[in-house]
């Protein structure tokens, strides 16, 4: 037993320290094992034969030529391995009467999107499998594709799945009048129509389809050893995958082990029970041999799920001095051909977020999910919340323009004031903390908002080729998914708790087994900081173990900015239990009463003395177990499960200035400032990294990315030449900062940060682009706002100018180019009401 002389010599706190990420060396140098690196003796390789057609009957498949290729072990159609009988799971039946078509692992008799698998080749090498796959002859009889959501809902429309009798998956409605959380929107709108002091404004916005382009393409290896099946997969959700595979395929859950080794990104795109994972498993089980499937980049773009894709109709009632009276939201959300794991619920997450940071007295949200013959959609960074934030923040700028009110002023008039927290919103969430004024004031100052507005005026007066536009997005989001009871009330198929176990090793090091599943976020670093602080041991002495259901048997994985706000708290609770368990043993070692002990800086000390033992000493003592108190077990390891009582609500103010080259339509980012309140910051470097990456993806939606289909249902962005991802060269240096109102619903005071940048940035950029060109009469530009679209918008608006509705560039809209003369009752620009 060691007694320590200097109990106050505690290490500097880890929380708040900008530690470099400990996992990066191996991730960046590749000195790790990704799924595709698994080398197992006798490993066989798969290649999946995919439909080139969006919608077709399969009339026959001839595998004979493929089977002749030397090195081919088998060529299977869906029926050969039972893949057509599988029903891939959808864990979120959003309504009782939701229509869920069967989603097979390989198509049996009909394909419903271009890229759907119809057969699989198994061979001794990936190259042989690919060669043979080209020899599989499939006889297709083409059917009409279903591409347009509105057409799909019309009577007599071609049905994607005739057996369910409709292309509508489900309709989900929230009405604050019915919920009792606010008034009736119908009443608010009709009152506004009759009131000379109010206006009703309608807008239609399009959320284009995006692809979550993770760096590491998906890959799965299944190794059947006796009755045991081990699956390695590049997944965000090893635990959910394991449970779902067991339920879906009727496998004994105890015979299945799922491992997510290091995973190279996901952005929601790897929250899935992918058909390819199931096919790999079915083939491995059939052959009794280890099998691997790894997708190509084009396969990934074509068949891994897509995100976004909504038509949004927003109608807002607002007084002429800018107070919102009611908000009506109608959505059409494209599910693609099938329902993904949480696909139908993604737009529903937006239901809670269209009201955003504003006090809206009456609110209605009505979403219809629609089937089309396209790749299915599911979670993509932000999942439902970027769509909602875009809708409301674009609308706020539209209102500002219509009313001639300075856009930030309009937001101030409507947002929840800092002294009003906690605040229960019209969509029934209770925001615990926040301070929109503080974040906004800091952002305005960093941005030099007034200076840029002046410059904008000057450029307009000079008629510069490059016009300045300024866009605002004051956002909040709900993250830290999620309180289990809330998920239950939304008919989600699981809870939202998270677990952590701490194993104290005899040498004083700690292994922390977590249920969340990192894929690039830097969890190992941030979690090590938390545990190091709580146990008072060195950062380097903490090892975070994750992603293997054999060691981490309970967990709900990583998405929805939950890993810190939920998983991190489980670690805190587990650490507290370790200390609790260590205390009687420490007391025994110090021959003192437990009541006289205090624990600080990793040491138990007897109050008022310099006698103490470290947690490491206790760990060694219980390992030796030579001498410990009667009646307790020689073990200080602990396990904890944390179920959050509430979501967390990060917020922030994002300001973007763009230069629009009015001769070419090119949009140059000029300045981007964001001040985010993510609560307590564990590691500022990681927070900044998450914000930067998030901004890149959100800005990309505004300016660069789109996954369009042609009229036959073929994806036009099937390679990264066509799916224009931005690189660092296309972005600017972002100015980021944080304010902090710690969350009061968890002991660390943390919120989430993983999705914030993506959620907030898109409308800031689009608002800025429009702000630059509204002066020419442009009213809207679809995303991405490509040079061609911007130029076309300027050109066609200029062509229709001169009808007396010229932009007033000197109005109180402070450079917004207020088109106040356009204000009209029930303005239905864009139609559709």
């Amino acid at each position: 037993m060691t007694t320590t002389e200097n109990p106050t010599n505690a290490p500097a706190p880890e929380i708040g320290r900008d530690r470099r990420r400990k996992e990066d060396r191996r991730l960046i140098t590749g000195r790790t094992r990704w799924t595709d690196n698994q080398a197992i003796t006798g490993l066989l390789h798969l290649s999946i034969v995919r439909s080139p057609f969006a919608h077709a009957e399969i009339q026959g498949i001839d595998t004979s030529a493929a089977k002749q290729v030397p090195g081919v072990v088998g060529v299977y159609t869906a029926a050969d391995i039972g893949a057509d009988a599988v029903q891939l799971p959808c864990a979120w039946p959003i309504t009782k009467d939701m229509k869920a078509p069967q989603r097979p692992a390989l198509a049996g008799s009909r394909v419903n999107f271009a890229g759907e698998g119809v057969a699989v080749v198994v061979a001794r090498s990936a190259a042989i499998a690919k060669d043979a796959a080209e020899l599989v002859e499939v006889d297709y009889a083409e059917l009409e594709p279903v591409l347009d959501m509105e057409d799909a809902l019309k009577d007599g429309a071609t049905l994607v799945h005739p057996e369910i009798g409709t292309n509508a998956n489900a309709q989900w409605v929230f009405d604050s009048g019915e919920a009792g959380s606010g008034g009736s929107v119908a009443e608010a709108l009709s009152a506004a129509e009759k009131d000379d002091d109010q206006v009703v404004i309608h807008r239609r916005f399009r959320q284009q389809r995006l692809v979550p382009v993770f760096m590491e393409p998906r890959s799965t290896v299944v190794d059947p050893t006796g009755e045991q099946l081990v699956m390695w997969s590049s997944t965000q959700v090893p635990h959910i995958l394991k449970t779902m595979l067991a339920l879906t395929l009727g496998l004994p859950e105890n015979k299945l082990r799922v491992i997510a080794p290091d995973v190279g990104g996901g952005f929601g795109g790897k929250i899935a029970v992918a058909p390819e994972e199931v096919v790999t498993l079915l083939v491995a089980r059939k052959l009794g041999k280890p099998v691997k499937w790894t997708e190509t980049r084009s396969e990934s773009l074509l068949t891994a799920h897509h995100g976004r894709d909504q038509i949004q109709d927003l109608t807002i009632a607002v007084t002429k001095d800018g107070i919102i009276k009611g908000l009506d939201v109608k959505l059409l959300a494209d599910m693609g051909a099938y329902l993904g794991l949480v696909g139908p619920g993604v737009p529903i997450l937006g239901a809670f977020m269209f009201n955003a940071i504003y006090k809206i007295p009456a609110y209605r949200f009505d979403c219809t999910n629609v089937f089309t013959t396209k790749t299915l959609t599911d979670a993509y960074r932000g999942a439902g919340r970027p769509e909602a934030t875009f809708g409301i923040e674009r609308m706020m700028d539209e209102v500002a323009v219509e009313l001639g009110i300075e856009p930030m002023e309009l937001r101030r008039k409507n947002w929840i004031k800092h002294e009003e927290f906690p605040y229960t919103t019209v969509s029934t969430l209770t925001y615990d903390t926040g301070n929109y004024e503080a974040a906004t004031d800091q952002a305005l100052q960093m941005f030099d908002y007034d200076g840029l507005r002046r410059e904008q005026q000057e450029r307009r007066q000079r008629g510069d080729v490059k016009q300045l536009g300024i866009g605002i997005s004051t956002f909040t989001e709900m993250c830290g998914l999620a309180p289990s009871r809330v998920l239950g009330s939304l008919d989600y198929g699981a809870g939202g708790w998270e677990t952590a176990s701490i194993r104290m090793l005899p040498t004083g090091k700690a292994e922390v087994v977590v249920g969340v599943s990192p894929h690039g976020q830097g969890h190992e670093t941030a979690f090590s900081q938390i545990v190091a602080d709580k146990l008072g041991i060195a950062f380097e002495d903490v090892e975070i173990l994750h992603g293997d259901t054999q060691s981490s048997y309970r967990g709900l994985d990583t998405y929805g900015s939950r890993s810190l706000a939920v998983g991190g708290i489980a670690m805190v609770k587990a650490a507290e239990k370790v200390i609790e368990k260590a205390k009687p043993i420490a007391a025994h070692m110090l021959e003192a009463s437990e009541d006289d002990l205090e624990f600080t800086g990793g040491k138990f000390t007897v109050k008022g003395t310099d006698k103490g033992v470290g947690i490491a000493d206790v760990a060694l003592a219980v390992f030796a177990a030579h001498d410990y108190p009667e009646g307790i077990e020689p073990d200080i390891d602990a396990h904890a499960t944390f179920d959050p009582e509430n979501f967390s609500f990060p917020h922030g103010t994002h300001l973007c200035a763009v230069e629009v080259d009015t001769e070419t339509g090119f949009v140059h980012l000029h300045k981007y400032v964001c001040v985010d309140d993510v609560g307590t910051v564990i590691n500022p470097l990681i927070v900044e990294g998450q914000v930067h990456g998030g901004l890149a993806q959100g800005i990309a939606q505004a300016l660069f990315e789109e996954a369009p289909y042609d009229e036959s249902g073929t994806l036009l962005s099937g390679t990264l030449v066509d799916y224009t991802l931005p690189s660092a060269a296309d972005l600017i240096s972002f100015d980021t900062a944080n304010t902090a109102t710690p969350s009061t619903t968890n002991p660390l005071g943390v919120k989430g940060v993983g999705e914030a940048g993506t959620i907030a940035s898109t409308p800031a950029v689009v608002n800025a682009v429009l702000d630059a060109v509204r002066q020419y009469g442009v009213k809207d530009i679809d995303m991405p706002t490509t040079p061609f679209r911007v130029w076309t918008a300027i050109n066609s608006a200029k062509g229709t100018a001169g009808r007396g509705d010229e932009a007033d560039v000197a109005s109180p809209g402070a450079g917004l180019g207020s088109t106040a003369s356009d204000i009209s009752k029930g303005d239905t620009q864009g139609g559709h009401l």
Binding site: T664, T724, P726, D730, T786, T792
Partner: protein
């Protein structure tokens, strides 16, 4: 993605390479930097039976001065072109254009000869080569021939290089003292041009005394903007004269329409970018 299988040879001289190519017949293909060819193989848009790798032939690489010409070996990489002093001094335009190609990784592998032989209408190096009146040296079984750039680019992805022939070098006349600018318009940094303008001009005593202008992606082949060249020569340098001359930029072009640009937009861009390119070149 995995290419179909093929035979592979890596000759060490041009003669050996020609021999291999001829023996390989129709299904033999040359590999230079592989930045266009390997994606074609990987996407299985082509499946040659024999690949002849030009990477082991030292005589194809490097930049040298020969009298009043600068000669660039076909296998000189984009990166080497951007760093070469002779080119900086005498053929700045090709260097300016090469700097805009893709990203550093691609520029370290891709070659000038490969890019010109590939003849992608959206590729950035054909228009400057045309504008500069370069000669392309092509070697086959019957020896060497020199093809003027104006005759080299025949159509989309089609050049005057015949079966069994190899492009060995590009011979540029010297444009010592000329200003140069490659004005590239694309959506993201590593992408091909939607439209681009290669301009090099000689300015003496405030007047434009000579001008060469080539357009990228305004037709299936690069296009020479002769109307603009004529309109510029003899003019006093001013923004006004340049912009007026640039109005002729789209004459004789036949641009395509795609998701990135309609043909009228491409024509408009050609005019705007020509004005900008000439102004910057005259700088």
């Amino acid at each position: 993605m995995i290419p179909a299988s093929f035979d592979y040879v890596r000759p060490t001289s041009v003669d050996e390479a020609v021999q291999a190519l001829v023996e390989g017949g129709d299904d033999a293909k040359l590999l230079a930097g592989g930045q266009s060819f390997i994606p074609v193989l990987r996407l299985r848009m082509g499946d040659p039976s024999l690949v002849v790798d030009l990477g082991g032939i030292p005589e194809l690489r490097g930049v040298r001065e020969e009298g009043d010409q600068i000669v660039v070996g076909a296998m000189t990489t984009h990166h080497e072109v951007t760093r070469d002093d002779l080119l900086a001094q005498h053929v700045a335009l090709i260097q300016e254009a090469t700097k805009t190609v893709a990203d550093p990784q691609v520029r370290h592998r891709g070659t000038l000869g490969g890019a010109l032989a590939h003849a992608d209408p959206a590729g950035d190096l054909a228009a400057p080569t045309l504008a500069l009146d370069a000669e392309l040296v092509v070697v086959g079984q019957n020896g060497e021939r020199r093809v003027p750039a104006a005759e080299f680019f025949e159509d989309y992805f089609t050049t005057a290089i015949g079966p069994g022939e190899i492009l060995t070098a590009i011979r540029f006349p010297k444009y010592t003292g000329w200003g140069a600018r490659y004005e590239k318009f694309n959506r993201v940094a590593q992408a091909w041009s939607i439209v681009a303008v290669a301009a090099t001009v000689k300015v003496e005593g405030g007047s434009i005394t000579d001008a060469r202008i080539g357009l990228t992606n305004m037709a299936g082949t690069p296009v020479r903007a002769r109307g603009v060249e004529t309109a510029l020569v003899g003019q006093t340098m001013s923004e006004e004269t340049v912009r007026a001359a640039a109005q002729a930029a789209a004459e004789g072009t036949s641009p395509t329409s795609d998701a990135d640009a309609g043909s009228d937009y491409r024509e408009h861009l050609a005019r705007v970018l020509t004005g900008r390119a000439v102004l910057a070149a005259a700088g």
